[in-house]
């Protein structure tokens, strides 16, 4: 079935649960902002400079660093394909908007992406499944070190890596971890935790960016400071906060099971029913139900659904993906129909029932 093939191509490295605490931590992302010394930042550069930056970076990346990067210019990529890359978290929405001179280099396994001419000349990103701050940093750092041999970076002894936005100056590093925190959300403890975390120099927000509430109870925790602390200090502090959040979440889950097992089971199985059989599935409902089912699997209330399907469905439920999957633009009702259909197929035909890797001709 053609759809299955689409799914397999659509699944990218970080969606397959792996790494520490993969039940709670969905993914780890490191982003390094870098700029070339002799050029204005993208906010102010001329078209000629933009072209030149693109050429210099692609020469360095394609010839020297590593073979196997694919190179895509935003202006040559249809809007919908760009949206899919955003939904897979491989490029930022801002790069998708940078129609004229933005481009992206993607490693074969899609764990490394280098965005060119986004807010900065270079944004090196590494995304891994589960909690892997050190590994992800190591990989991003390797790419950065290989590039800095070829590229004259804008760097200052006092201020560190010079970036367009002063909130990135210094290490230029943003480390973030995506966490599924349903029990902290259900018990409303998250409202007390978010301000406490921000006092520690970290930010918590819904996974789809600033100001968004958390659809599917997925939160992103990241460092706020980039000056005055080394990369390793930042990573250690973030790891510390994340591990405390995980411990909190686990305790709350146990408590929920203990105090209100039936209510919890009821909620989890109703949600499983909804995503398995619904004919119309609006995105907010889909996100909420996925969160419940995920929790149900973690707590071993649900045993016959594979966890890996859930990370995928979190991504596939978005509108860019659905339209790509159907091969056409969809109205919002058509999206809800398509989403319901995809969920039904995926939950019946997923890897738990048929072993796709070996069975297929």
């Amino acid at each position: 079935m053609g759809n299955k093939r689409f799914m397999q191509n659509a699944v990218t490295g970080w969606m397959v649960p792996h790494g520490e605490h993969a039940d709670i931590v969905m993914s780890t992302r490191i982003r390094l902002a870098r700029n070339l010394r002799e050029f204005r930042f993208p906010i102010a550069f001329s078209d000629e400079q933009a072209e030149e930056v693109g050429e210099i970076v692609s020469e360095a990346l394609l010839s020297e660093v590593e073979k196997g990067y694919s190179y895509t210019r935003m202006k040559e990529l249809p809007q919908l394909d760009r949206q899919v890359l955003v939904e897979k978290h491989l490029i930022s929405p801002q790069l998708a908007d940078a129609e004229q001179f933005g481009s992206v280099f993607l490693s074969e396994d899609e764990t490394i992406s280098v965005m060119v001419n986004e807010e900065d000349h270079l944004r090196i990103q590494c995304i891994y499944p589960g909690l892997q701050l050190e590994n992800a940093y190591q990989k991003a750092n390797e790419t950065d070190s290989a590039l800095e041999k070829k590229l004259p970076y804008a760097f200052d002894e006092e201020f560190g890596y010079l970036t367009s936005c002063p909130s990135n100056t210094g290490t230029g590093m943003r480390a973030s971890v995506m966490l599924h925190l349903p029990a902290l959300t259900i018990t409303r403890q998250i409202n007390r935790i978010i301000p406490a975390v921000s006092r520690l120099g970290m930010v918590v927000r819904g996974s789809y960016g600033e100001g968004s509430e958390a659809p599917g109870n997925v939160y992103q925790v990241s460092n706020q400071l980039t000056l005055g602390k080394s990369e390793n200090e930042i990573l250690a502090e973030l790891a510390n906060i994340v591990s405390r959040l995980i411990a909190h979440e686990r305790r709350s889950r146990e408590l929920l099971l203990e105090k209100s097992r039936i209510a919890l089971e009821n909620r989890v199985f109703r949600s499983l029913g909804t995503i398995s059989y619904a004919r119309l599935l609006p995105s907010a409902e889909a996100a909420r139900c996925l969160s419940d089912v995920r929790l149900g699997i973690d707590l071993e209330l649900i045993e016959d659904v594979e966890m890996s399907i859930l990370n995928e469905l979190m991504i596939f439920m978005q509108s860019g993906f659905l339209q790509h999957y159907e091969g056409e633009e969809l109205t919002s009702e058509e999206l809800d129909i398509s989403r319901a259909k995809l969920f039904r197929e995926r939950l019946k035909n997923g890897p738990s029932k048929a072993d796709e890797q070996t069975d297929r001709p």
């Binding site: 930042f41 102010a44 800095e148 002063p166 909130s167 210094g170 000056l227 602390k229 990369e231």
Partner: protein
């Protein structure tokens, strides 16, 4: 919301503009917000007033007034034309040289944004690293030399002095090779 000016990119900066009918809000993308000052588009474009970034970063109204009064003598980046005033409005630098241009004022801005921190601590690109290692070495040797002099070990001090001279030459060579953006 799309930028009012180019109608292409997402608007991400709100600039307050004073007009005869009172202040109006303009929703612009960062690029247009930046460009509107450097290459003023319409002739009746009035200077835009200080916006959210400034109030966030330089809290208290006295510094706000002070900043406004100082606008005239504020430095302007020779490379991209950004003024410090405009930097505070749009919250972005235009080029690496901006950092050099606004160097004295930046610790205050960074302090606000980075919890009091104003100095980089962390990775250094290899080309810069070499130079900084040498500088650290020279500092260390100088301290040792001072100690030797205090303890009246003048022979030892002379040896250290020569060593410092050697390192200084190496440092000069390193800078020659184009290690630094702002050579000393």
């Amino acid at each position: 919301m799309l930028c009012e000016n180019c109608k292409e990119r997402q608007a991400s900066v709100i600039l307050m503009q004073d007009t005869q009918n009172g202040p109006i809000e303009r929703n612009l993308c960062e690029k247009c917000a930046f460009n509107l000052q450097t290459f003023s588009i319409s002739p009746n474009q009035e200077p835009m007033s200080i916006q959210q970034f400034l109030s966030q970063w330089l809290s208290g109204s006295e510094s706000l007034h002070q900043q406004t009064r100082e606008v005239q003598k504020m430095p302007e980046c020779p490379e991209c034309g950004l003024t410090f005033h405009r930097f505070l409005e749009i919250g972005k630098f235009g080029c690496p040289t901006c950092y050099e241009t606004f160097r004295e004022r930046l610790p205050k801005v960074f302090g606000k944004l980075h919890n009091g921190n104003t100095n980089h601590k962390g990775k250094i690109p290899a080309s810069f690293n070499e130079k900084m290692t040498i500088k650290k070495k020279i500092e260390e040797l100088r301290t040792n030399m001072q100690e030797a002099i205090q303890e009246e070990q003048f022979e030892q001090a002379a040896v250290l002095r020569d060593e410092i001279k050697d390192w200084k030459q190496k440092l000069a060579a390193e800078i020659e090779e184009g290690g630094s953006a702002h050579g000393e």
